[in-house]
Subunit: 325 residues, 2 copies
């Protein structure tokens, strides 16, 4: 076991620089300009960081892991481009989405090109265990599609259980975090058991991350959250908070707002947040989130590398978790 | 060199059976049913056949090449699903397109899943030279996207040259035929020179194939062609025939039809076909096509395997070429 690994901040800097140096160019411009555009909009670069942090934890070669990290980030951005068409989203990271700035066809096709380019970046790593790496990549990729389809299905499905919801966010968000970590582990030549543990760490952290995202959508500081607060409430999105509130709200307040087609947005957000607080659903959400974060850390604990090597990933999960306050 | 290879018909049977046995299932049904639907609509399975024929020509293991063949066919069908959204097409192989039968979102997402699954099939081949195979696959895949974008651009671009048109069909159609053959060659452990020659054979055959498709769109037997004859003429598609006719038509007949927004379709098709014949553009198209087919066969001749091994691929190119009569 190798100790004295890189610090979280150092890895984040390396990753952010690597992603920002990506230049995918070519002709026709209509295909390539949108790719550069979406990649230049920033983002936290969490997924590529996980590839590198995991590889580094297992004593692997960090520069080598940057290729797969780029692949994961380009894949993630592909999924955002296509999701934004499907969700009819106008903004992404505060800027116009590709289908709004250009058109749907450009967004479909440049998204397709990004998905193909994602594999290209992985190939550039010249990995010995390429088949294994791509098998994990593909499993997560297809699960992300399944999660997106379930998310769309749940918009019109009358009843969604907490179990169904958790499964959906696991597929749509968490498995890619797990896969990023597992791919980093494989590049770092981790044992199968350790690779599985770091995957589980990522998936559990991912569920916690998404539950917090849902919580912040209602209770976050608008300044810090970076999105419109209450968006999920306005659109009746069946989040953990919403599903539990519908279950526990004896006064039928949630139900009465559900049937309204014309309403004051601020009034609705305040009313539903009131239900969330009165029924204790806000605290249930935090407890659920903590449950997943605790499981994640338990998985990290079980990985058989020395404790100091785990520091950066532990710091990472703390960094993600502390967003709530 | 190994001789006495499989016959064209035998390989075609094997390939058609392999493709028809593909079963991609899972939940949610909205993601997977469209994939099964599009793959069940048939098609000539030319691209997967090329993988296997090339592999067999070089003495490679044909069953092993079937995995990559499936990947190529699933990729091709992915591109059809997304192209059909972009082109607003109602029918594909005489049946409703996915976006018509379901909706645009289902077509985008199930297409994405097919692109991912295409890589999965290639991975199942457990190829020694996976990186090299996927690099070729990816180059063709991205070029297919470039070709589709150019095709869309040319709809509104005032002037398109013959050179631009040939480049577009090369990207949109031919490079995938070349890549299919080159991947088969790599699985069959061909030399770099032979792999390049079989790629060039495919690209040239592909251009010939597309030029014939354009010719048949105007002059084909509606019974045999399987598409509405004159579709390109009605939509003012800038094909080889159209571009050359616009150049050679001194009477301005083509120009006069271009400006009409309301017209009798049969009348327009007959008028433009008349120009094609009067200007000799129909014969120019056949000559151009033959030029590409001849180049293709020249490339096949240069491949350093014994002549009898080339029979199936030579028969294949004859089979493709004879569609014109």
């Amino acid at each position: 076991m190798v100790s004295s690994k890189l610090k979280l901040d150092d890895v984040m800097d390396l990753v952010v620089n690597a992603i920002e140096s990506i230049k995918i160019s070519g002709t026709p411009a209509e295909l390539y300009e949108p790719i550069d555009y979406i990649l230049s909009l920033g983002g936290k670069r969490l997924r590529p960081a996980l590839v590198c942090l995991s590889c580094d934890m297992f004593g692997g070669d960090l520069p080598s892991s940057l290729h797969a990290a780029k692949g994961i980030e380009v894949f993630h951005n592909f999924s955002l481009v296509h999701d934004d068409i499907m969700d009819n989203a106008y903004l992404r990271r505060g800027k116009m989405t590709i289908h709004e700035k250009w058109n749907n066809n450009v967004a479909i096709l440049s998204g397709d090109a990004m998905l193909i380019k994602a594999y290209d970046f992985v190939l550039q790593g010249n990995y010995q265990n390429l088949n294994q790496i791509l098998t994990i990549f593909n499993r997560a990729a297809i699960e992300v599609c399944e999660g997106q389809q379930l998310d769309m299905n749940y918009e019109t499905q009358a009843e969604v259980s907490v179990g169904e919801y958790i499964n959906m966010i696991k597929l749509k968000t968490s498995v890619l975090l797990g896969a990023a970590l597992k791919i980093g582990a494989l590049i770092g030549e981790a044992s199968d058991e350790n690779a599985e543990l770091v995957y589980d760490f990522g998936v559990n952290m991912g569920v916690g991350f998404q539950l917090m995202d849902d919580y912040l959508d209602a209770f976050g500081d608008p300044e810090k959250f970076g999105k419109k607060v209450g968006g999920d409430i306005i659109s009746n999105k069946k989040t953990f908070l919403f599903i539990k509130a519908l279950e526990l709200d004896k006064d039928g307040v949630v139900d009465s707002w559900l049937s309204k087609e014309i309403f004051d947005e601020v009034e609705k957000v305040e009313a539903i947040k009131g239900v969330y607080i009165n029924t204790g659903v806000d605290q249930l959400c935090i407890a659920e989130m903590n449950k997943y974060y605790d499981t994640a850390l338990l998985k990290l604990d079980q990985i058989t590398v020395d404790n100091s090597s785990k520091k950066a990933l532990r710091d990472f999960s703390e960094y993600i978790r502390k967003r709530v306050r």
